[in-house]
């Protein structure tokens, strides 16, 4: 149903979603029937919704903010409001429902398509896109239906994810104009052209058209190098269901790390070029990148890992320092 601002309203189980010119409004009822509501800036809501859709609900928690979000169970997905906010949980005003992944994905895709106006790209840095605000005007389907760029073995190999070039619509970003675009010297003997292989990862990343959206560039079994370029604020607060590692390749990102169940602050992590840090499996984190930077997100994609963590087989912390 279209509202007075031109947007459709959406319902997912006991959750209702409505947007106006500036805000997304989420409403639900508590278990004892009390009506509750939450309001988010429309742009921030769409940026978070974009990541949740594009990442297939990602690993673990995708907190849109400190009230609403999703938890991926890899086949089903929880939608919640207040369930991981200590005060709201204690007050008994939270709600969580589980949905088949296809059901919530389809509704989120419809909402993203309907609520994204012409000229607004939820993947772009705020300085590089138009406004999300105002009454419904047009759409931006090309921007919200980008496929994730996932190498199967390594970027640039024959038949694998291609290099980014001007011709492929990937010019060097304004913030990386000083990043060298040279290529490695490669001297294969005949017959080994697709085995003796190297590429310029930093040049590849300098041509990323999106922010906070990891791609796969090299793969060793279930070890995925997922570099990404970051600018402004990570539009979600990612709650880990496994240890996640970050390697800062240039510039800097400041992370807020909170407890994933309650949101209580745990630490700040200031990462500069060359720094490595892990996000323990009990935390949720949000990054702030003052200048566009290159971050290597390093993931273990083993599908059994969550069960191993939940059963105690896998640690929630990255390293055993011993006694």
């Amino acid at each position: 149903m279209t509202n007075m601002h031109g947007y459709n309203d959406f319902t997912l189980g006991g959750f209702n979603f409505r947007r106006d010119e500036y805000f997304a409004h989420i409403t639900w009822s508590t278990l004892d029937g009390r009506p509750m509501s939450h309001t988010m800036d429309a742009g921030n809501f769409l940026r978070a919704l974009m990541r949740d859709v594009a990442w297939g609900f990602f690993y673990g928690w995708v907190n849109f903010d400190d009230v609403i979000g999703t938890v991926n169970h890899y086949g089903t997905v929880d939608m919640y409001a207040g369930s991981f906010n200590g005060a709201m949980k204690d007050a008994g005003i939270d709600r969580m429902e589980n949905f088949p992944t296809d059901d919530i994905r389809q509704l989120f895709e419809q909402m993203l398509a309907d609520w994204t106006n012409a000229g607004f790209d939820p993947f772009a840095a705020p300085q590089e896109t138009g406004s999300p605000y105002g009454p419904k005007h047009g759409d931006n389907m090309p921007a919200i239906t980008r496929a994730r760029e996932l190498a199967r073995r390594c970027v640039g190999l024959e038949g694998d994810l291609p290099l980014r070039t001007d011709e492929r619509g990937a010019p060097v970003n304004r913030a990386f104009a000083d990043v060298p675009q040279d290529t490695p010297e490669v001297h294969p003997e005949p017959g080994f052209e697709n085995e003796v292989h190297a590429f310029n990862l930093f040049a590849f990343l300098s041509r990323s058209q999106v922010t906070w959206n990891p791609s796969f560039t090299s793969v060793v079994k279930n070890s995925f190098m997922c570099p990404t370029t970051e600018e402004h604020i990570l539009p979600i607060i990612h709650g880990n269901d496994r240890v996640e590692w970050f390697f800062q390749m240039c510039d800097e990102i400041h992370w807020n790390c909170d407890h994933k169940e309650t949101g209580e602050p745990l630490a700040r992590v200031i990462m500069k070029a060359g720094d490595m840090a892990a996000m323990p499996a009990y935390c949720r984190h949000q990054g702030f990148s003052p200048k566009r930077s290159m971050l290597l997100v390093w993931e273990n994609g083993n599908p059994d890992l969550v069960d191993d963590i939940n059963s105690g087989k896998a640690p929630k912390v990255p390293v055993d320092f011993g006694a």
């Binding site: 304004r174 310029n200 990862l201 496994r242 992590v269």
Partner: protein, 168 residues
């Protein structure tokens, strides 16, 4: 006013390390380190684990001079973070190859590698090279350089977390 941006990379001789600022947690749980600091105090080609995710690791390596010849049953990838590194590759004869196809991490090749020369590559900062499964490879670097190796934890991996990570 139009902004002009300067991208800040690090190097062995010029890096600015960040930090963990604890609020209500143990800083060790963030395993915070810096690859240039590690390589600055490592022996050449010491494979220092500075990221681990179950059986998978990222190793920070100081490249200086010629390395031994290594081989591995699975692909590995080398990212150059500072300096210049040559990587020479040989398609290893089966007699010298890793006998267990499930063996994880690199091992040393016994003696000189025997097999067809595959070629070589030269990596500069930001370049990433593939070390294909079953090949023998050798790093060569005239000046100290820094490599990040994506691999599995193996016999040659060195763990010294307390000396590389922020602990307080």
């Amino acid at each position: 006013m139009t902004s002009t941006y300067t991208t800040r990379f690090g190097s062995l001789n010029d890096y600015d390390k960040g930090r963990v600022e604890p609020i209500a947690d143990d800083v060790r749980n963030y395993a915070f380190s810096n690859c240039f600091e590690i390589a600055g105090t490592s022996k050449p080609y010491e494979k220092v684990v500075f990221g681990q995710n179950m059986e998978y690791v990222l190793e920070a390596i100081r490249a200086e001079g010629d390395s031994p010849w290594y081989t591995c049953a699975h692909d590995e990838f080398a990212l150059c973070m500072d300096g210049e590194v040559e990587i020479h590759l040989v398609k290893l004869d089966s007699a010298q190859a890793v006998s267990n196809p499930d063996k994880e991490g690199a091992i040393l090749v016994e003696g000189d590698p025997r097999g067809a020369k595959m070629g070589w590559m030269k990596l500069g900062r930001g370049h990433q090279g593939m070390l294909p499964a079953g090949s023998a490879y050798q790093f060569r670097s005239k000046q100290p350089a820094v490599i990040i190796l994506q691999t599995c934890k193996g016999d040659l991996s060195v763990e010294r977390w307390s000396s590389i990570c922020q602990t307080a």
